[in-house]
Symmetry: C2
Subunit: 441 residues, 2 copies
Amino acid sequence: MVETRHDERMSPVNAPFKAVDNSADVAVIMAEIGVQARAAMRVLALASETRKNAALAAMAAELRSASAAILAANLEDVAEARAGGATAAYLDRLTLDDKRVAAIADGVDAVRALKDPVGAVLESWTRPNGMTIARVRVPLGVIGVIYESRPNVTADAGALCLKAGNAVILRGGSDSFRSSQAIHAALVAGLRAAGLPEAAISLVPTRDRAAVGLMLGGLDGNVDVIVPRGGKGLVARVQTEARVPVFAHLDGNCHIYIDGAANPDMARTILLNAKLRRTGVCGAAETLLVDRKAQSQLAPLVKMLLDAGCEVRGDADTRNVDARVKPASEADWATEFLDAIIAAKVVDGVDGAIAHIESHGSHHTDAIITDDKAVAEKFLNEVDSAIVLHNASTQFADGGEFGFGAEIGIATGRLHARGPVGVEQLTTFKYRVRGTGQIRP
Amino acid sequence: MVETRHDERMSPVNAPFKAVDNSADVAVIMAEIGVQARAAMRVLALASETRKNAALAAMAAELRSASAAILAANLEDVAEARAGGATAAYLDRLTLDDKRVAAIADGVDAVRALKDPVGAVLESWTRPNGMTIARVRVPLGVIGVIYESRPNVTADAGALCLKAGNAVILRGGSDSFRSSQAIHAALVAGLRAAGLPEAAISLVPTRDRAAVGLMLGGLDGNVDVIVPRGGKGLVARVQTEARVPVFAHLDGNCHIYIDGAANPDMARTILLNAKLRRTGVCGAAETLLVDRKAQSQLAPLVKMLLDAGCEVRGDADTRNVDARVKPASEADWATEFLDAIIAAKVVDGVDGAIAHIESHGSHHTDAIITDDKAVAEKFLNEVDSAIVLHNASTQFADGGEFGFGAEIGIATGRLHARGPVGVEQLTTFKYRVRGTGQIRP
């Protein structure tokens, strides 16, 4: 068992929970994890930036020095997944190597370098009676993170939640169980080194899927928000079953609209990037909308995509410009292909584009290419998505590209966190009122 | 039927739904209300401040001119409630008179006078690649408001949601059904006068309680947040059953802590106000904590409360100072009395106060009285409540007193809206990214 190896390596871990695979105990264990996370949250919320950064530095160092142990644990996970018939793509997500472990440690360092959001005064004002009111940023609380095969999420999410002063309960994928435990052991060592409670970053010590259901139930009020990281199946389950708020997006059905007043070169460059830079990211464009007034641009744009190896599924207008275009089905307009496939349609101006996006989009990220400033403003104003762009690629839908430094995901929900969820989005606020004896008349 | 009277008075209302009391239809009706609210939201989100204010002005005028009809409808409600054995307090909350209707209209005018929060740029920055990113305030979406006997909530909530560009679905109490319908008719007339969709403010046209369950289920994703307005029973049901986020507080178990370094005069003045100015508001103090170092203040404070007619339930120390003090039970520490009753306890300094509040409080509003600035900062920092006050009365826990102009309630949840929920808290944001052809490397 990997955690035994870590116990040996790191001297007593005092981890509150050992790995269990006994369903009968899961409810008891999860309830206790919730209670301990809530208690840890109180300590974390008051921890200084110095102490949190010390923990993050120790975590990064520990991840580097534990690299061999992490890779050994990962080998066992990969062997088991391969024996279970996992696909090559799945195994690639699961597999760690020296470079990936180094990147995980670097990621923790990058989180350490972020500005501590806690304590910032967001707003303050003085009332006519002389009282001053300040809205001050404080940690969100206890964050539950449910993820799948990528073991790096253990460190990424653990570090980001800690930086914002939150406790986190991590529930990694069954297939990366040993890898996540090995990474978690390094995080716990970092917490211990900085004198922070180990329950600040808990890893669910069982593969039993009942643990997920219990987390979605909120662990008796001890989970404030759930962040799912994984495929649509996971996100859909979390969104359907969670009894606590969820930061997530189910679909990133992103649109790129080429307006009649678009610069043709810019349209080509951005479209190619938006669709094909990486096809598997949530900001990849999935539908191309072309203004009827820009129809002269349609053929070269479609040809460019086809020549670049992208399948185009078009409406009648689009099929007319190139024989290689396949017919689009109604479902294609609402599909996040996450592949070298794009749906393409001619629309009547920006109003047609907005209407199409509002009917078929997922409120994630949508872009307009135009040199007409008024048309651009209309699009930015009326498209009801977390991110709207003018003359830029949809692939900028990313916390790092926004300058957030790190993100735990992108949310399309309307409350609290919308768009990239970075360290600031993992905080809330409270009001501090300072008086000199004021009473309410 | 009251709505018939309004149809006559105001010429065709074209209300999409007539009052129904047929359970079989409720699911169909509620689903359709959700769809129409979502569609109205899109129009509202893009409506200008001028148009929204025109609607609010017309609503206020309509409420004033419909005063007689509203009072007649209310008379029927009150008669029915009285026949049903309602208490005097209940009837008082339900009953309208000329003055109360005028106050409702004035409230709508006050909302009109608020600054329109929509479109405000909350933050903007330029990326190294030259892209500018702006976080811009936009409406939250569709808000479900579930309330009880007070018919004024119909106008208060309808107006506030409209000002922030939201559609609202109102579900008033069964006992104020006719009153709410009469008030709602005036609001709809105002919307119509300004050319805004009537579905921007929907009133559930049935007393069937199944409608509440359907709203709590989110009406197929067409409700973004639920705000309950009413007693603990309602709030508890909403918090337990809602599948969408809720802005609410279940308890306002507010504490006032008299530190050893408190000015005795200020302590007396603020304690009296915090407990007894109004005992039925959520910001009323429910527990008095006195520093052991301030024990000389305990007797005069307790005597003051008792002499003012407040029952004091104390620990042994408190019982020692006055024979009239009753023993506090364990439950008293966690009780929101909403009455002239206070629990009282001697604690060991600010640490003891914080520990007590964190164990027994409801994270609503808590105050410290002290002349020691460092102790005050410790309290403000470590008490994890939506509102923390230094040398001011807990009864300031109110959107109006915060300068928000109007509030739809006070939230103790940690996400999105915490503390008073005013017009700004009924908004969310989106990111507008402006580029000049940027692609992601």
